[in-house]
Amino acid sequence: MAGAVWLVSLANSGADPFTNTSSTDFGGLSLDQLANVRIDIASVRSRPMREQPGIVSVIQAEEIRQMGARDLADILQQVPGFGLGADVNGVVGSSFRGLWAYEGKLQLIVDGVEMNETLYGTTQLGHRLPADAIAEVEIIRGPGSAKYGGTAELAVVRVTTKGAEQNGGYGVLAPSFVSGKAGADATGGFGYTEGDWRVAANAYVGENFRSNRRYTALDGSSVDLTHNSDIASRMVNVGVGWKDLNVRAIYDLYRLEDRINFGIPLPLDEQISFETLALAANYDWQVNDWLIVTPNFSWKRQVPWTGGVPGSTFRTVTERYLAELSAVMSLSENVSLLTGLRFHYDHAQVTDARFYGLAPEEFYNGGTSDSVSYNTFSPYAQLDWDWDWANISVGGRYEYHTAVGGQWVPRLGITKTWDHLHMKALFDRAYRTPNINILNSPASSDATSEQTTSYQFEAGWRFHDGVSLVGNIFYIEIHDPIVYQTDAKMISEGYTNGRRIATCGTELELRYRHRKFSGALGYSLYALTRNGVSAWESGVSRLALGIPAHKVSASATWHILDNLLWNANATLTAEQRAYVFPNVDAISLPPTFLLNTFLEYRWHHASCGIGVANLLNSDSYIAQPFLGGAAPIPGKGREIYLKLGFEF
């Protein structure tokens, strides 16, 4: 008797583009790679993307490679909701869902180490974090404070670099050429497993520049950025593992040549640098078959916002010591609990405050000290319950900061999946504690914590032929937002709490994956529903300063031959409001269309790619999303680049 039989032919059906391959799809891996996959005992840690209690995008190395991306900013440009904005000193960061996320509202994590600088909480982008070293980018679109703490107020970007599972190495040399200037990136690394040992290293050297166009300040003065916006970027990232012990060391240097300053061009270039050295170690101790306890220790030394023109320089060294103990418990087959305690100690010491006309010992504590320190203590928990009718995730974090006091942020997520359909309803509270120099510096005022409330709803449909469509609607409200404001000559600057600001909107993603062709189409929209922050006003209701309301992104890859692929990707952003000479009020800049293309040929262990960024040589601008005295920074013109790679 044959018994019950079902048969599925997988010759032509499409793969599930919804699913997070890192948690349920292990096809295509080598035996060594499979042997090194950790089996977590609780779904708090590993779930398919459709079932995760958050709105998550995962972009993996192959997709990154196919689109010819060169750094993290290139990758984020393809993610709905994200945009680029300008800070002071020609620094560029990210906006998200109509809000300026760059300063303390977006958490960037590289291999488990938070990279935000601790003076202001900022994250610099643009020719930083090389795409070729990245194994996976996981983007949590929505608050993550309950799990990740402050600075995860609007979104979390988790970068995982290529690791030991490679059992080999790679190198990529990427020279680039734009009218009047050349740049180059070199990235390389290796990873090996041997018995219980794992080792991986990635290194990156980049010499690039922000723009080859002319910046015109609000007073009409201008400067050609071609030779005045160089960016030097360095990274060394080493990870060593033995059994369940992981040790990580990261060195990151990001140095900018700046003429824009606070808006009015300087007569000479100044150098602004951001330096991070971090060491981290954690051990996953499997106590028994239902409990894993993970002690985690890290030390981070940063020297952010260092430099200036001679006689007006600034240097502060910050250190963060972090100790964390977390536990993942599988309470039953359907219930798992993550709980933990985290403590960190922040210390900042000024060694040069001439930018403010002060001696170091006059900088902190009302002019009486050159250093300051704070303690932060936070217990947190998240319970995941896979119920018959839905998956429930409920959790929260309490954080106590010695200068600010306590914050309590709960979260609730309900997810439900059917064969083709999934739905998520999410409620999150989040917060941002004022960072060191917002609490305690000449620029500080009486700024207190800001609190965010977020409601999100996502629905997705998985089609038979490899097509998926996911969409969400969101509402974000920030109470007492911490607002930075300055002017073109930096006569005054300061932080204050604004009144309530809120945005709502939608994001859509259509994905198609097939053996020969794959593509993605994204759309995002936001609208300001309330704005109590004068420094973010654009003069048009429902539109924030410097942030376009609409963004369309598209990427298509065609495998012409087994070893030849072609990708075209583009972003179209709607008009954005910005202050531009000679207008007194903010005006609308025209929509921007950026088209990029990349062709790659792979031959055994070598590859050769040629790409063109901004193929149409369109005008683009990175505007300031706050009243900061700077005009928009012009983007690069057409840029041709090569990617010469090898693997061993």
Binding site: V5, G27, R38, D40, I41, V293, M329, F343
Partner: protein, 196 residues
């Protein structure tokens, strides 16, 4: 020496209380079965990977482009993960087809068969029907290799596998050295030895 402020004391006290509650919570949690969903997703990855290494006897009843057939005998332990692992990922230019059955007879012509039943006695009886057939038999019961199975998956912190070279030879299958290097154990001449 720096004096402890009332705030500092409050933080320390709160931390100590929380730590006590936390430890008490850990101790009071009942034991539970290990979540095996991810383990079987990894095993699905192995099932997709094995045909790239193992050499079958020259094909008789199919052409070189015929799909690899993977039979799953017994419980549905894979969910969607086996389909995910094999979809659009041909190996040696051959796609995959999956067959799930409750009877061994239904899958004796498959290239690979996974014994998902947890009952060792049932698995033993089912295995007997594959003796001498060119089928890569894979299972996870404790005595799977001793009873004539070719590959036993071992689920722990990671998923590893052991190979029965005697059974592979009897089935006419060649297990290359590269695959044996990745194995945790090799069963040969009636003895299991560590492979690395």
């Amino acid at each position: 020496m720096e004096k402890h402020t009332p705030t500092c004391r409050r933080v320390c006290l709160t931390a100590a209380c929380w730590l006590l509650v936390w430890i008490a919570g850990l101790l009071s949690v009942p034991a539970a079965e290990m979540h095996s969903k991810k383990a079987h997703a990894v095993i699905a990855g192995y099932l997709h990977a094995f045909p790239a290494y193992v050499e079958w006897p020259a094909p008789t009843n199919y052409t070189n482009t015929a799909p690899w057939s993977i039979g799953v005998l017994g419980d549905d332990v894979f969910g969607d993960s086996l389909m995910l692992a094999c979809t659009n990922r041909p190996v040696k230019n051959r796609p995959f087809q999956l067959i799930r059955a409750t009877s061994a007879q239904a899958v004796t012509t498959c290239d690979l068969v996974y014994f998902a039943n947890q009952d060792a006695e049932i698995v033993k009886k089912q295995l007997a029907q594959f003796t001498g057939r060119p089928v890569l038999t894979i299972g996870e019961t404790e005595n799977f290799l001793e009873e004539g199975g070719i590959i036993r998956m071992e689920i722990g912190r990671r998923v590893q596998f052991s190979v029965n070279l005697d059974a592979a030879r009897e089935a006419g299958l060649k297990i290359p050295a590269q695959m044996l290097q990745s194995a945790s154990g090799i069963y040969e001449n009636g003895h299991l030895r560590p492979a690395r």
